[in-house]
């Protein structure tokens, strides 16, 4: 499972020795995030975001459990119970702001973590399973965050729930009954609020389980690294502890500084004012928007404005709403297939000139545009921009990536991770020239 030079746990303290004999939990931790896990020595700060995401999950569970002690999931009092937390519960305002902004920062961290995986093609063999579990975690995270946003039972909670569950009604034949079954009624009400609360409490623990699988799968091949070439020998790695615990500790400090600055000085910056208006089924907000982290997918959903018809015959094949729903789900499901859509034998974007250009000047601006349009009102020119960005999004993953990865000529790889870290050192220069690492077979 690990490299042959991985250190073995040798308990010195008699208590730990006792423990380790009866239940090798100390050994397990030692091998997972301790000195027993050899990690490539050249990881940059983008590799901090896995640990940060784990921290966010713990933060959300801790603040969430405290909030659940004071929250009432009943449509008549849910809004007031949240305000009770804000006003009358000791430090309740801190718990709630930490939880609400914690969700936002969880998504910031996750998006950077995913983008890192895409740039360095961390999804490629032999790490496909880590990636697949990661996409499952992302889907669970979206479901959890969506249901959490419904709980305060403000205007955006109610109308967001109505719009998102309304997506299921686009499915032919079973759509309407399915929506009613999901909501436990014809519109979001007490039944929906109660089940959303129940699931919002449950899913984080499902996510925690998936995170354990994610890390388990990671420890089989070990971490990838910015060069994308495999570890060759011991000099390529350092033990996770103390090297990466120290680096992650510093990264965590920087993360907390930014996150808590928002919690204390702009806690409503990332939310929508309408959610401080109690839910009112009789009054539709002027612009229904989900939380910012759903904007790209909301933009894709709304980009499909025209029914798919056969021109001049007027035969309708697919209604616009169903197309939008399919596209929105496809936008995430396509990530499942990345390991097989990308054929390049080289992992890291640093050595893939064409792929790199499409990543920086295609995918990232496209995502930025989708973010912007998803939060904007559903009017021109935002709709047109989101349509162009949606077209690029699908073209990027399904057309450009497979073609570029098979036609581009990768730049030469360094011989080893150690050499990449040392650069072309004076002694190595002559020896190393022209001696490159083997690309991986995909």
């Amino acid at each position: 499972m690990s490299f042959p030079w991985a250190r073995h746990y040798q308990p010195v303290n008699p208590v730990m020795r006792f423990f380790d004999e009866k239940l090798p939990l100390p050994r397990f931790v030692y091998n997972a995030v301790g000195a027993g896990y050899p990690v490539p020595r050249n990881l940059n700060y983008f590799w901090n975001f896995g640990v940060l995401a784990g921290f966010c999950l713990v933060l959300q569970i801790v603040t969430g459990v405290v909030l659940a002690m004071h929250y009432a999931s009943n449509a008549n009092v849910a809004f007031e119970s949240v305000e009770h937390i804000m006003r009358d519960v000791n430090w309740g305002w801190l718990m709630r702001y930490a939880h609400a902004n914690g969700a936002s920062f969880f998504f910031v961290v996750i998006y950077i973590h995913i983008a890192r995986g895409m740039f360095y093609s961390s999804y490629k063999a032999p790490r496909e399973m880590i990636w697949l579990i990661g996409v499952v975690i992302f889907l669970l995270l979206m479901a959890t965050a969506f249901m959490g946003y419904v709980l305060p039972w403000g205007q955006m909670s109610f109308w967001g729930a109505k719009v998102i569950t309304g997506l299921f009604s686009a499915i032919p034949l079973v759509g309407e009954p399915l929506q009613i079954w999901l909501l436990g009624g014809y519109a979001p009400d007490n039944a929906a609020l109660n089940r959303f609360f129940s699931l919002h409490f449950l899913l984080p623990f499902v996510i925690a389980g998936c995170v354990i699988l994610h890390i388990w799968a990671l420890h089989i091949p070990g971490s990838s690294n910015p060069t994308g070439i495999e570890v060759k020998d011991e000099s390529d790695t350092v033990p996770f502890h103390p090297y990466y615990t120290a680096k992650d500790g510093f990264g965590l400090g920087v993360f907390l500084l930014i996150y808590l600055a928002v919690v204390f000085f702009g806690p409503n910056m990332l939310g929508h004012p309408d959610n401080y208006i109690p839910a009112n089924p009789l009054s539709t907000p002027a612009h229904i928007v989900p939380e910012w982290y759903f904007w790209p997918f909301y933009a894709i959903l709304r980009a499909f404005t025209g029914d798919l018809t056969i021109p001049f015959l007027g035969v309708a094949l697919l209604p616009a709403k169903l197309l939008g729903v399919l596209a929105m789900f496809a936008a995430i499901l396509v990530w499942f297939f990345l390991p097989w859509l990308d054929r390049s034998p080289v992992r890291s974007g640093h050595y893939r000139p064409l792929f790199r250009k499409f990543f920086w000047f295609g995918l990232l601006p496209c995502m930025a545009l989708l973010f912007y349009c998803g939060g904007a009102p559903a009017e021109e020119p935002y709709v047109m921009l989101s349509q162009l960005a949606t077209a690029y999004y699908f073209a990027h993953f399904l057309v450009i990536l497979p073609i570029v990865s098979s036609i581009e000529k990768p730049e030469p790889l360094p011989f080893s991770i150690t050499e990449a870290v040392l650069g072309h050192g004076a002694n190595d220069k002559e020896v190393v020239k022209g001696e490159y690492a083997e690309p991986v077979a995909v």
Partner: protein, 286 residues
């Protein structure tokens, strides 16, 4: 195979969004000559005015005198139509009132209760633990008295609107006759029966009559001249407090927390540096 299927699915979505959605959209825009159909709200709605408060910014603190004045404006003007359901009389202690003053203030408000002898519905003077009473018994009564518009509860109003405090201030001071250009372009935008023009309100016509009509309407106890502008500013500050009584405590807690974290992060940086100093890559042994 998977790549071929991927390319086909990709082309399907790209084709759908470009040919059936984007092209008709462009045709509509070209046909109408502008991105959006011009509406009165688009062209004549104004963003809130710029206004500053002592509680603004990372070091903001409450201006207790202003909150007390704002409370008086709420009590004498706003409370005739607007409830303040989430605020209780005991909370007024935070505005610098003594226990006795809070009790006396509460007792000057009538809240629904029951007759202790007959058990029939009656009203009684409020206690500090009571919440501010609603001016109307129910929504139907509120609608009936206000030209079919329910006056919103004000407890959270400054958090429930973009740029809340500035919005409240702008709305209260923004009543004016509709511009001639507006009426020339959109004759329908003229305020109807019982409506008042206000460019800071979302659809330009609001059912609330100008509540702060003249200077001196509320007499301030601290001698501040009660211009309409001053009253609007003070009540906006008061409503910022009702929306988030913990606002100043939050900011004051933030600084020591960030200060400690900054210190800890600097330490973590040095720790990281010293740990990694020992990891100078040894030479490759091949």
């Amino acid at each position: 195979m998977i790549r071929l299927a991927g390319i086909l699915i990709g082309l399907f979505f790209v084709g759908c969004v470009l040919l059936w959605s984007f092209v008709p959209g462009v045709a509509t825009v070209l046909g109408q000559g502008s991105f959006v159909e011009p509406t009165a709200e688009h062209e004549f709605h104004r963003d809130p005015k710029h206004v500053s408060f002592q509680h603004d910014g990372a070091f903001g603190t409450w201006d207790i005198g202003q909150l007390q004045r704002g409370f008086k404006v709420y009590k004498e003007v706003c409370s005739a139509c607007h409830s303040l359901k989430l605020v209780s009389f005991r909370n007024l202690a935070q505005l610098g009132y003594s226990e006795g003053q809070v009790k006396a203030e509460a007792a000057s408000w009538q809240v629904p209760g029951v007759d202790p002898v007959t058990g029939e519905a009656a009203s009684r003077p409020a206690a500090p633990t009571d919440y501010f009473p609603s001016p109307y018994p129910n929504d139907v009564a509120a609608r009936a008295a206000n030209n079919n518009a329910i006056p919103p509860d004000l407890s959270l109003i400054t958090k429930a609107r973009h740029h809340g405090p500035a919005y409240v201030y702008s709305l209260l001071t923004g009543y004016q006759p509709p511009e001639p250009e507006l009426l020339a372009e959109f004759p329908d935008a003229a305020p109807g029966e019982g409506l008042y023009h206000n460019p800071y309100f979302a659809n330009l016509n609001i059912a609330m009559a100008p509540p702060l009509a003249a200077d001196g309407q509320v007499e301030f106890d601290d001698g501040t001249v009660s211009t309409v502008d001053q009253m609007a500013k003070d009540v906006a500050a008061f409503l910022t407090w009702t929306a988030e009584p913990t606002l100043v405590k939050r900011k004051q807690t933030g600084w020591p927390v960030l200060g400690f974290l900054l210190f800890a992060t600097v330490l973590a940086w040095f720790a990281k540096r010293s740990v990694w100093a020992s990891a100078k890559p040894s030479k490759r042994h091949d």
